[in-house]
C-alpha cells in the first residue's frame, strides 16, 4: 500500500481563490429594509436542544429534575432563561403565601403558616387591628365602674380580713401595755408607758415581776405578730388569684368577641384558627399588657408593633405574599449567599445584647420562588460559603430550614430562633459555564442526583439562509431591546459576517449575544455621530476597526519588534532548517496572530529529536506530543532497515514564554526535513497546521488571526506577490478574513495555500517535489524525500562506524 502522504506528492498546491477566503452574508431571501421590519426573534433563538431540555425540566415535577443550563457566559443564558420563563409561564395558580407567627408555647420555634395566595397581608392586618382594638376596649372595660366595683370588693375583702387580724393584734398589744413599731427592716414589739416607749433605764427600774410579765407579754405578741405577718403572702396570693380570675372573666368577653369575628373570616384555615386560639389564650394570660401604658410607646397605631414592644408577640410576619402575582413566580438570585437563599434571622441590639424574635425572620429567594422557579448563577453560588451545601440540603429535605452562617462557623453565641421549616416545591435552574458543569459532574457525587436535566446552550448556529435570517432578527431584537437605531440591510450583513468570524467558522454564526450587543451599541453611537438614522455597514466596520485598534497595543508592539529586526522574522529569501511558524495570542478577548521563527539542527546521533522548548519546560504537553509525532513520522517514512541515527533539535527562536499546542508541528517537520535534506525553505511563506504520523495535515484554531498576523508584517515590509500562508485544507471552511487580506489575495499580492499533506507543504516551501518511493523502494533523485533519506543513511553509517570503532577499541 502506498503511503497516503505520497498520493499527491507531485502536486504543487495552488493559492486559494478570493471567494474561499471570506463568505459574505446572503440575506437575499429575507425581505426587509431595516431591522424594524423584522419580526422579533423567538425566545431561545437557535437553542432548540436547550429549550426542549428546559421545557422537559419544567414539566417534570419529580424530585431531582432540576436544570443546569450551561453555555458561554457571553451567551447571556440567565436573561435568555428569564425571558423564556416569563414568556412561557408554566400554567398554575400563584403559590401559597407564608407567614411566621409567634409560637406562644415555644417562642424560639416560630410557627410557619401557609395561606392561600393573597391572604397573608389581610391576616396580618386583621391581627394588628385586633390588638389595636383590644388596646382600646380592654382598658375601657377595666376602668368601667362594674369592674372597679368587683375589684374593690375583692380588695376590701382581703383588707377587711387582714385589718381585722392586725387590729386585733394591735389592740391586744395595747391592752398589755405594748406597741408594735415599724423598723427600717420590719417590725418590733415595745413596752409602752404613758405613751412613750420604755427604754432600758426605765425598764430596769420596774419591779422584777412587772418586767417578767412584760417580757412574757412581748414574747406572746411577737409570736402572734409573726404568725399574722406570715399569713399575709398567702392572703395576698389568694387576692391576686381572685383578681386574676376577675380579669380573665372581664377580658374574655371582649377578647372572645373580637377573636370570634376573626375566626369566622379564616374558618377554612385550621392553622390560622389554631393560632387565633393561641392568641386568645395569651391575651387572657397577659391582659395586664393592655392595661398599662409602657413609656415612650404610642397608644394607637402600628407603633405597637415596633421591635421590642410587648404587643409584637401577636403580630404576623409576612414572609412571602403572592397577592400581586397571577402566575407562578420566577426569581433570579443574583447574590446567592446562604442568607439570601434560605432567609435569615436578623438581630437587633437591645441594652448591649443581640435579641431577636419571629418578626425578624427574613425571607430568602427560595421562599419567594417556592412553588415556581429560581434561577441561580452557579459561579456565584460556589463563591458563597456553605450556599451549595445548603441548597442540596433543602432539595433533599424538600423543605426550607433557615440556617445561620454565624452559628455554623461559631461566631455568634447569642440566642437565636429555630423557625419551623417551610415545605419547598421549587424548580431550580443553575446556569454556568460548561467547565463548572463538568467539574461538578465529576467531583460532586450528589450533583446529578439534584440536577438531572442538562440544558446545553449552543454557542453558534448553522450558517444557512435560515440561520442568517434568525441572526438578523436576533440582531434587530438586540437593537430594539436596547433602544438603539435599527440596522439597515448592509449593517445586518456586516454584523452577521462578524458573527461568523466570532465563531471562527465561515459556516457557523455565533450566538454570543453579549458580543453582538456590544457591536450594535457602539455602531449605533457611530451612526449617531455620522448623523445617520440607521446603522449601516460603514458603522459596523468602523466599530470593528476601533475595537481592534483599542486592544491592539501589544499586537502593534510585537509587530514593531519584528519590523525593527529585534524579533528576527524573514519575509523573503530562503534558509535551510528555518521556517516561519504562526501562533495566536489571546488577551482579554482580543486575539492576534504573530509569526515565530522555528529552526532545526541535525547531526548523527541516537535517534532522538530534542524539543528544546520541552527541555527547558517552556513547552506544554500538547506541543511535546506534536514533536514526538515527528519522530514517528520520520521513523515510519525513512528509517527502513536501520535504526534511526539522528540527533535533532527544534526550537522556537526568541520565544521566552510558554509554547502550547501542536499547530506548529507541520512547520517543525518542514524545518526538520529542510535541515536533513539541506534544502532551503522559503521565508516569504508562513506555515500553520498540525501533522499526524502519516504526514496528514490537520486543522488548527485561530486560522484567521494567524493569516492576518503574517499578512500585516508582510504589508508593513511591502507585499512582494510571493508572500503567503500555508494552512490545513480542513481550515479553509473557517476562513473569514479581513477585507484587506482578501483584496490582496484577489490582486495576487498575497496568497493562502491549503495543504493536505506535509509533502504539499514541503514542496511549496522548497520548490522541490516531495517525491515518492519508486518500485525499487528508493525515492526519485532530486526530491526532498530522497535527500532526507540519503542524509539519514549517512548519519546511520557514521554512527555505525563510530560504534564499530568503539567496540574495536574495547577488544
Amino acid at each position: 500500500m502506498r503511503d497516503a502522504a505520497n498520493i499527491d506528492a507531485e502536486a504543487m498546491p495552488q493559492a486559494l481563490p478570493a471567494d474561499k477566503l471570506f463568505r459574505p452574508a446572503d440575506l437575499s431571501g429575507l425581505a426587509f429594509t431595516t431591522t424594524r421590519d423584522l419580526a422579533p426573534p423567538p425566545v431561545l433563538a437557535g437553542q432548540r436542544r436547550a429549550e426542549e431540555a428546559i421545557r422537559l425540566g419544567g414539566a417534570l415535577a419529580a424530585r431531582g429534575f432540576n436544570i443546569f443550563a450551561t453555555g458561554r457566559t457571553k451567551g447571556r443564558i440567565s436573561s435568555e432563561l428569564r425571558q423564556m420563563l416569563e414568556t412561557v409561564r408554566p400554567p398554575g395558580k400563584p403559590p401559597q403565601d407564608w407567614v411566621y407567627v409567634n409560637n406562644f408555647a415555644v417562642p424560639h420555634r416560630p410557627t410557619a403558616i401557609g395561606l392561600p395566595a393573597g391572604r397573608a397581608v389581610p391576616l396580618q392586618q386583621a391581627l394588628r387591628k385586633l390588638i389595636e382594638d383590644l388596646r382600646v376596649t380592654l382598658p375601657a372595660l377595666f376602668e368601667s365602674e362594674d369592674y372597679q366595683r368587683r375589684r374593690t370588693a375583692i380588695d376590701e375583702a382581703l383588707r377587711t380580713n387582714t385589718q381585722k387580724v392586725f387590729q386585733t393584734l394591735g389592740e391586744k398589744a395595747t391592752a398589755r401595755g405594748l406597741a408594735i413599731i415599724r423598723t427600717p427592716m420590719g417590725f418590733t414589739v415595745a413596752a409602752v408607758d404613758k405613751g412613750e416607749v420604755v427604754d432600758a433605764e426605765a425598764f430596769a427600774k420596774w419591779p422584777e415581776e412587772r418586767r417578767k410579765a412584760t417580757q412574757d407579754a412581748i414574747a406572746q405578741i411577737e409570736r402572734e405578730m409573726e404568725q399574722a405577718l406570715r399569713s399575709i403572702p398567702k392572703l395576698e396570693k389568694e387576692r391576686r388569684d381572685t383578681v386574676h380570675a376577675l380579669d380573665q372573666e372581664t377580658a374574655q368577653f371582649a377578647i372572645n368577641q373580637e377573636i370570634g369575628e376573626l375566626r369566622s373570616r379564616f374558618a377554612e384555615l385550621p392553622q390560622v384558627v389554631d393560632h387565633l386560639e393561641a392568641v386568645r389564650n395569651d391575651v387572657l394570660l397577659h391582659v395586664q399588657l393592655f392595661l398599662g401604658q409602657p413609656e415612650g410607646v404610642s397608644a394607637a397605631g402600628l407603633d405597637a408593633m415596633l421591635p421590642g414592644h410587648p404587643f409584637e408577640r401577636y403580630d404576623v410576619n409576612v414572609l412571602v405574599s403572592n397577592a400581586a402575582n397571577d402566575h407562578l413566580p420566577v426569581v433570579e438570585e443574583l447574590n446567592p449567599t446562604l442568607g439570601n437563599l434560605l432567609g435569615r434571622v436578623e438581630h437587633m441590639s437591645y441594652q448591649g445584647a443581640l435579641v431577636t424574635n419571629f418578626r425578624m425572620i427574613k425571607a430568602g429567594s427560595l421562599h419567594r420562588a417556592n412553588g415556581g422557579t429560581i434561577i441561580i448563577d452557579a459561579r456565584s453560588l460556589f463563591s458563597e460559603p456553605y450556599a451549595w451545601s445548603a441548597l442540596k440540603r433543602v432539595l433533599v429535605r424538600g423543605e426550607i430550614v433557615i440556617e445561620d452562617l454565624a452559628h455554623i462557623v461559631g461566631l455568634m453565641s447569642t440566642a437565636t430562633l429555630e423557625p419551623s421549616p417551610i415545605p419547598l416545591n421549587v424548580k431550580v435552574i443553575l446556569f454556568g459555564e460548561r467547565l463548572i458543569y463538568y467539574l461538578l459532574a465529576s467531583l460532586d457525587p450528589e450533583f446529578q442526583q439534584h440536577f438531572k436535566i442538562l440544558a446545553d446552550f449552543e454557542d453558534e448556529v448553522e450558517r444557512s439562509p435560515e440561520g442568517e435570517a434568525l441572526l438578523a432578527r436576533l440582531i434587530g431584537g438586540v437593537a430594539a431591546e436596547a433602544g438603539l437605531r435599527a440596522l439597515d440591510r448592509s449593517g445586518v450583513e456586516a454584523a452577521i459576517e462578524r458573527a461568523a468570524r466570532l465563531s471562527q467558522d465561515a459556516s457557523k454564526l455565533s450566538l454570543l449575544v453579549e458580543d453582538l450587543h456590544d457591536l450594535v451599541t457602539e455602531s449605533d453611537h457611530r451612526a449617531g455621530v455620522a448623523g445617520r438614522t440607521v446603522i449601516t455597514r460603514a458603522d459596523v466596520e468602523s466599530t470593528l476597526r476601533a475595537q481592534r485598534q483599542r486592544a491592539s497595543r501589544l499586537e502593534e508592539r510585537t509587530r514593531e519588534m519584528i519590523l525593527r529586526d529585534v524579533s528576527l522574522i524573514a519575509t523573503e529569501g530562503s534558509q535551510v532548517g528555518q521556517i516561519n511558524g504562526l501562533s495566536v495570542i489571546d488577551l482579554a478577548g482580543h486575539a492576534f496572530g504573530q509569526p515565530t521563527r522555528i529552526t532545526a539542527r541535525v547531526a548523527p546521533g541516537s535517534g532522538k529529536i530534542v524539543d528544546i522548548e520541552r527541555e527547558v519546560e517552556l513547552g506544554g504537553p500538547i506541543h511535546s506530543k506534536g514533536v514526538l509525532i515527528l519522530s514517528g513520522f520520520i521513523t515510519g517514512r525513512y528509517a527502513y532497515g536501520a535504526p534511526m541515527s539522528l540527533q535533532a533539535s527544534l526550537v522556537f527562536e526568541q520565544s521566552y514564554g510558554g509554547v502550547e499546542g501542536d499547530s506548529a508541528s507541520v512547520a517543525e517537520l518542514c524545518a526538520l526535513l529542510s535541515a536533513l535534506a539541506g534544502l532551503a525553505l522559503r521565508q516569504d511563506l508562513a506555515v500553520t497546521g498540525s501533522v499526524n504520523q502519516h504526514g496528514h495535515v490537520q486543522a488548527i484554531g485561530g486560522v484567521n488571526e494567524k493569516i492576518e498576523g503574517f499578512f500585516d508584517i508582510c504589508t508593513s515590509r511591502g507585499l512582494t506577490g510571493r508572500q503567503g500562508v500555508l494552512i490545513p485544507a480542513s481550515n479553509v471552511q473557517h476562513l473569514m478574513l479581513r477585507p484587506d487580506v482578501v483584496q490582496a489575495c484577489a490582486d495576487a499580492k498575497f496568497a493562502i495555500y491549503a495543504v493536505r499533506t506535509v509533502d504539499e507543504a514541503i514542496a511549496l516551501l522548497t520548490g522541490c517535489t516531495a517525491g515518492h518511493r519508486k518500485p525499487d523502494g528508493r525515492y526519485a533523485d532530486g526530491t526532498v524525500n530522497a535527500a532526507v533519506e540519503a542524509c539519514l543513511a549517512r548519519f546511520a553509517a557514521a554512527r555505525k562506524a563510530m560504534i564499530d570503532d568503539q567496540n574495536a577499541r574495547k577488544h
Binding site: R151, T152, G170, A173, I181, T183, P184, G186
Partner: protein
C-alpha cells in the same frame, strides 16, 4: 390674662421608714409638676426605735425573711441612716425626669410629727392609700394621720389609677376653692374640670352617689373634696377605695377629725 397665684408652696411627701413606693414617688412628682410646687421628701427617724434598742431583749422581725434579730442601738442608727440615704437617692433619681424643684430632709419623729409639725397649712401633704400591714404599727398609718395636719392632703391609691378623665370637685357653690384648684389641675392636664354638687349630710354613700350621678360610667382623673365634708378618716379611705382615684382634700378641718389615729 393674669395667672392666679397658687395658695400652695410645697408638696410634702413622707418617706416611710420601710421604704417608699416608686409609684407614689412618680405620682407625687407629677402632681408637683402640674401645680408648679416644690416637692419636699421627708424621712422620719422614729426616736422610739432608739429607746427600744437599749433594751437587751428587744428584737425585730425582719422582712421579707421573717427572721428575728436582736435590736442594737448602733445598728439601728446605721440602718436608719442607710434607709434615709437609700430613699434620698431614689427620690432624686425618680424626680430628675420630671424637672420639679425638690428637697430631701430627715426629721426626728413619727408620722404624726410629720402631719402635725412638718407639713404646714400652705403645703400639700401627699400620702399613699395604706396597706393592710400599715395598720399593724402603733400610731396608725400615715393616711389616717394626715388628717391631723393643717395641710391640704393628697391621697394616692395604690392601684387602678385612671389614665385620664375629668378633674371632679365636690363643691357647694362656684366660688368654692375646690373648684379653683380642680380647674387649675384640669388646665394643666388638658382635661375638663367637673363640678359635683355637695351633699347636705356628708356621708360616704351620699358622696359616692353624687359622683356616680355626675360622672356616669366614667371615672375622674382626680377628685377634689372639701375638708369639712370628711367626717372621719374611714370615710376618706372608703371613698378612695371605691373610686380608686387620687383624692385632694382641701382646707383645714373645722373640727377635730374622729378616728383611731
Amino acid at each position: 390674662m393674669v395667672k392666679e397665684s397658687s395658695p400652695y408652696r410645697r408638696a410634702v411627701l413622707g418617706m416611710p421608714t420601710g421604704g417608699v413606693d416608686r409609684h407614689l414617688l412618680r405620682a407625687a412628682a407629677e402632681f408637683a409638676r402640674l401645680l408648679e410646687l416644690e416637692l419636699l421628701g421627708v424621712f422620719m427617724e422614729d426616736p422610739a426605735l432608739f429607746s427600744l434598742a437599749t433594751l437587751p431583749f428587744a428584737r425585730e422581725l425582719r422582712l421579707p425573711g421573717h427572721d428575728w434579730q436582736a435590736l442594737d442601738l448602733q445598728r439601728m442608727g446605721e440602718e436608719l441612716r442607710a434607709a434615709a440615704d437609700r430613699e434620698r437617692r431614689l427620690f432624686e433619681k425618680e424626680l430628675m425626669a420630671y424637672g420639679v424643684a425638690c428637697r430631701f430632709e430627715v426629721h426626728r419623729g413619727d408620722s404624726a410629727t410629720l402631719a402635725r409639725h412638718v407639713a404646714r397649712a400652705s403645703d400639700i401633704l401627699i400620702v399613699e392609700e395604706p396597706m393592710e400591714i400599715d395598720t399593724l404599727a402603733a400610731g396608725g398609718d400615715p393616711a389616717r394621720l394626715s388628717l391631723l395636719s393643717a395641710a391640704t392632703i393628697l391621697l394616692v391609691p395604690r392601684t387602678g389609677m385612671p389614665q385620664g378623665g375629668p378633674v371632679a370637685a365636690v363643691v357647694a357653690d362656684p366660688s368654692d376653692p375646690c373648684l379653683r384648684i380642680a380647674s387649675r389641675i384640669a388646665a394643666a392636664t388638658g382635661e375638663k374640670a367637673l363640678a359635683v354638687p355637695s351633699v347636705d349630710q356628708p356621708s360616704t354613700a351620699a358622696l359616692l352617689g353624687s359622683l356616680r350621678l355626675a360622672l356616669g360610667p366614667r371615672r375622674e382623673r382626680l377628685l377634689v373634696l372639701p375638708r369639712q365634708g370628711i367626717t372621719s378618716d374611714g370615710m376618706l379611705l372608703e371613698i378612695a377605695s371605691q373610686r380608686r382615684v387620687p383624692i385632694l382634700v382641701v382646707g383645714t378641718a373645722a373640727h377635730p377629725v374622729e378616728g383611731n389615729a
